[in-house]
Every structure is written in structure tokens, then in C-alpha cells.
């Protein structure tokens, strides 16, 4: 039992590294920020704020994709939604200290849910490009590569939090309190 949050060992039991350390998280945050800028740029085109878009390989591909029905199915253009998604990834990547897998499981789990489904949506959009519109969009593909690259490195932290929640449950403590990082539970369960 820890007396203070600072006494919590940063490396989860049975692990040999800390998945919430900054060296683990910073690359993901950087990727999310790059993805956010790419998506913002594409979104500005979709909002007609800029009137051309960079496309080195596929001719009219980007224009076809970015003006397609799928990209405008929701009230806001899909690239803007993507930018919001990346922003949530970056924000939930930054929040919390290096023991957050135990001190605030909710944030690692929100982080995992933000990174995972965003990746899935990106892959869906990549599939739609050739199948529905017979076109490719370079920056859309770049954005998809980024969101897929974030999944692997983000999931270990989610695993550490889920294992912690499992220990809380086994010890008979409140998983609800542990999830939100209520101090008494966080300190009690190793």
C-alpha cells in the first residue's frame, strides 16, 4: 500500500517498462499533432476557405475524394471531424503523469478509445476511396497511415490500466472509484 501517489512504482507489476512514460507517449502525441494539421488543411479545403489542395500523385484524386458524398454525409466535413479526433488523441495523450495507468485509468481508456476507433474510421475511408470513387487522395492516405501507426504504441497503456482494474476488482474495492482515480482506492490496490 502506497502512502502517497508518488510512492506508486511507475512500472506496472509483471511489466519491465512503464507504458505511460513520456518516452512512450511523446511519439504518439507528435503523430497526433501532425495528423491534426494534415486533417485541418484538408478540412479548410472542404470548407472552401482554401480553393486548391496539394496532390502530387493522383491527378484529380484528392478533389474527387474531398468533394465526395461520403465526406459530406455529416453536417461538418469529415476532415474537420478527423482533426477533432486527432486533437482528442493528442490531448488525452498529454494529460496525466507517468503513473496515470493507475492514478487515472479513465484517461488511458479514453485515449485508447480515441486512438482505436479513429484508426478504424481511417481504414474505412481508405477503402472507400478506390472502391466507391475510383480515386486516391495522397494526404488522406498520409493521415490514415498516421492513425494506424498510433494504434500499436497506444494499446500497451490501455492494457496496463485494464490489468490494474482487474486487480481492483479482485481485491473487492470499488472499480468505479479506481476508474476515476479516487485516491483512497488508487493507493490501496497495488
Amino acid at each position: 500500500m502506497a502512502i502517497d501517489k508518488k510512492d506508486i512504482p511507475p512500472i506496472p507489476p509483471g511489466w519491465d517498462y512503464n507504458p505511460a512514460s513520456w518516452s512512450q507517449r511523446i511519439p504518439i502525441i507528435v503523430l497526433a499533432i501532425i495528423g491534426m494539421f494534415i486533417a485541418l488543411y484538408l478540412g479548410l479545403y472542404q470548407l472552401d476557405i482554401i480553393n486548391s489542395v496539394w496532390e502530387p500523385f493522383f491527378g484529380d484524386g484528392s478533389i474527387t475524394i474531398l468533394n465526395s458524398k461520403v465526406s459530406n454525409v455529416l453536417p461538418i466535413p469529415d476532415a474537420i471531424l478527423g482533426a477533432i479526433g486527432y486533437f482528442i488523441d493528442a490531448l488525452t495523450g498529454v494529460i496525466g503523469g507517468t503513473r496515470r495507468w493507475r492514478t487515472m485509468p479513465w484517461i488511458t481508456i479514453v485515449f485508447g478509445f480515441a486512438v482505436g476507433p479513429l484508426g478504424v474510421v481511417s481504414i474505412m475511408l481508405v477503402v472507400f476511396q478506390p472502391v466507391l470513387f475510383d480515386a486516391w487522395c495522397t494526404l488522406c492516405l498520409a493521415s490514415a497511415v498516421i492513425s494506424v501507426a498510433m494504434i500499436g504504441p497506444a494499446m500497451d497503456e490501455v492494457l496496463a490500466s485494464l490489468q490494474y482494474m482487474q486487480r481492483v476488482k479482485r481485491s473487492g474495492q470499488s472499480t468505479w472509484k479506481a476508474f476515476w482515480g479516487i485516491k483512497e482506492v488508487v493507493l490501496k490496490v497495488a
Binding site: 506496472p12 507489476p13 511489466w15 477503402v127 478506390p130 494504434i151 500499436g152 490489468q163 497495488a190
Partner: protein, 123 residues
């Protein structure tokens, strides 16, 4: 690791091959445009040891590529040969697990175990 890298490249090839080999069959092209990105995603995510098992998800995808020319009755012979060969290779390479050097408290499977490694370590 090498098996995953090869699968990533093969996934890229599957995604690009309908255009490079100019498939005459739109069904074959659609199939590859769907399966290719999935193979890349699973193999890429499996590069990290904590999510290594995701690489196994390419076993059914490789098998599907192998039988797809028959199941979807491809008319394009290039597409048929291409998908069967690449499918077989992806299928086989997806069984290669590679070295796992890190410990993850028993991994994802621990969440369903009675007495997983991470609980033993806290006693």
C-alpha cells in the same frame, strides 16, 4: 518481425496491384482494395510486442485471398494468380510469431485468467 514487414509490403502490393496490373475485373479490384489496407493495418499494429497477436488476424485474410478468385469467380487471370500466390504467402507468414522480449503482466489474455502474472507479482 521480418514476417510482419513482408506482410506489410504484400498488403501494399495487394492494395496497389489492381491498378499496376490493370485488373479487368472490378470485383477483383474491389476485393483487393478492401483486403490490402486491412493486411497492412494488422501487420503494422503487430510490430509492437504488446499487440503482436493482431498479426494473427491476417491468417483468415490470407486464406480469403487464396479462395477469393474462386468464391468471387474472378474473370481476370492475372488477378487470380496474383491473389492466390500472395494470399498463400500472407497466410503462412501470419503464423510467424517472432521474438517477444518484453513482459506485459501476462498480456491481454491475463484479463480472462484466474491467476494472471500481474496479480502473482503483487503478492
Amino acid at each position: 518481425m521480418w514476417a510482419l514487414v513482408i506482410n506489410i509490403i504484400l498488403g501494399l502490393w495487394i492494395m496497389a496491384s489492381p491498378d499496376i496490373l490493370s485488373f479487368a475485373d472490378p470485383v477483383a479490384a474491389d476485393n483487393n482494395h478492401i483486403v490490402g489496407p486491412l493486411i497492412i493495418t494488422f501487420a503494422f499494429t503487430a510490430l509492437w510486442e504488446a499487440t503482436r497477436t493482431v498479426g494473427k488476424w491476417n491468417i483468415p485474410l490470407g486464406a480469403w485471398l487464396f479462395i477469393a478468385p474462386w468464391a468471387l469467380s474472378f474473370e481476370d487471370k492475372n488477378a487470380l494468380v496474383n491473389d492466390m500466390i500472395i494470399g498463400a504467402v500472407v497466410f503462412l507468414l501470419s503464423f510467424v510469431k517472432g521474438k517477444i522480449t518484453q513482459h506485459f503482466g501476462g498480456g491481454w489474455i491475463a484479463l480472462f485468467k484466474r491467476n494472471p502474472e500481474h496479480i502473482q507479482k503483487t503478492k
